[in-house]
Subunit: 214 residues, 2 copies
Amino acid sequence: MNNESKKVSNEVIKRLPRYYRYLGELLKNNILRVSSKELSEKMNVTASQIRQDLNCFGGFGQQGYGYNVESLYKAIGEILGLYNGQKTIIIGAGYLGHALANYKSFENRGFKLIGIFDTSPDKIGKSLNNHEILSMENIKAFVDKNKPDIAILAVPKVAAPEVAQQLVNLGIKGLLNFCYTDILVPDDVSVENVHLSDSLMTLSYKIANKNKHI
Amino acid sequence: MNNESKKVSNEVIKRLPRYYRYLGELLKNNILRVSSKELSEKMNVTASQIRQDLNCFGGFGQQGYGYNVESLYKAIGEILGLYNGQKTIIIGAGYLGHALANYKSFENRGFKLIGIFDTSPDKIGKSLNNHEILSMENIKAFVDKNKPDIAILAVPKVAAPEVAQQLVNLGIKGLLNFCYTDILVPDDVSVENVHLSDSLMTLSYKIANKNKHI
DNA sequence: TAGATTGTTAATCGATTAACAATC
DNA sequence: TAGATTGTTAATCGATTAACAATC
C-alpha cells in the first residue's frame, strides 16, 4: 500500500511504546518541547538513536528547536494505531482474565474491550467489569457480528492451540498470547507473546550471573 | 568471579528460556537426542545461531551425534539458575497478584513462592493459594528473616517507585516489574519488566502496518 | 571407516553511534 | 545573525549466518 516505506526494524517498533510513554509523561507535566538530547538523558538511550528511530516515520522535529511534545506524542500514537479504536476480546475469565479486564491502561490507550469469553458454566453469565462473561459456544456469532480486531488469549496452556486456531478461522487478525506456547498463525495474522515464565527465567539468569555483568 | 567468561549478549540470554522450553517438550516426548538442525527447524531459527548461542556457555554437543536432550535441558536450567530454589514474594494481591500466585509454571520452574503482601485491610489475613496475605507493615521483618531472592511487583503504578525503593533498601536483588513505569535500581539489583501496554501497542502497530511487512 | 554434526573462525549483514551540513 | 538542534550520511560496532576443519 505504502510503497515508499522501507522496512522498519523490530527493534525500532519495540521502542515506540516507550517513547510514547515518556512523551505522555512530559505532556502531563506541561512540557511543550523536548530535544532528542534531553529525551535521551531521561530515557537512558542515545540522542542519535531517538532521531534515527523517529526518522523511520518522518521528520517530526525542527532544527534549532527540537520536538513539539504534543504533536510528537500524537504522531507516535497514530503510528502505533492507537486511535483506531481497536476492538478487543478476552478469552478466558480466570484470574488473568480478571486482571486484564480490569486493566485501566487498556481503555486509556484506545483499545475497546467488547467481550469476555469462557467455557466454564461457573463463570458464564457472571459479570466482569461491566461485561457479561459469554460462552465460547457463542464466539462465532459474536465475532461475525462485532468483528473484533484483537483477541487476548488467557486460557490454560493446553487449550491454547485449538482456541487460537478457532480465532484465526473466525478472521481475527491480532492475538496477544499469554499462554506458554508458541502459536502458529498465517502470515496475515499478528501475534505478540507475553511469556511470564520467560521473563522470570531471564531475571533468574541475571541474578545468578550478576557478577559477570558488572 | 568467572574471569574467563566473555560477556554474553542480551539477545542470547533472552533466547535461553525458549531453548529450555523446546528441550522440555522433546524430553516429555521421550526424544533422547537432537541436532542443531532439527531443533532449528522446530524453533524456526538457524542451526548456526543455536550452536553459537550454546557455545557461549560451553560445548554441550558431540560431533556426528548432536545434543543429548536431557543433559542439555539440565545444563540450560542450571545456567538460568532454575535449580537455586529462588525464593519469591509477590507484592500486591489484586487480580494480577492472584493470577501470579496461582501460576503453576512458577513452582514448575524451581521458584518458591514464600509470601504475598498487600496494604488493603480487606485482603490482609485472607488466604491466597495456601499463603496468608501479609501486611506491607511486616515486610521488613519478613525479608530480614526469610531473605527472598525475587520480588514480583504487582501494585498500582503510583505505588511502584516507593515500593521498589523499599524492597531494594531491604536487600532484594531481583525485581519482576509489572507496573507500567521504569524502575531505577542500583547496579547490583536486576529488574525485568513486563509491560502489558507495550505488548499491546506493539501488536497494535503490527496490525495497523501488516501490509508493510509481507 | 564413512557419514554426520559439532565447535569455531570468517564473512555478511544490520543496528547503533558519531559526525556534520542543513536550517530553524 | 548566532546558537541550537535536527535529518541524514558515514563509521563503527555487534549479531547473525555461512563455511569448514575437527572429531565423534
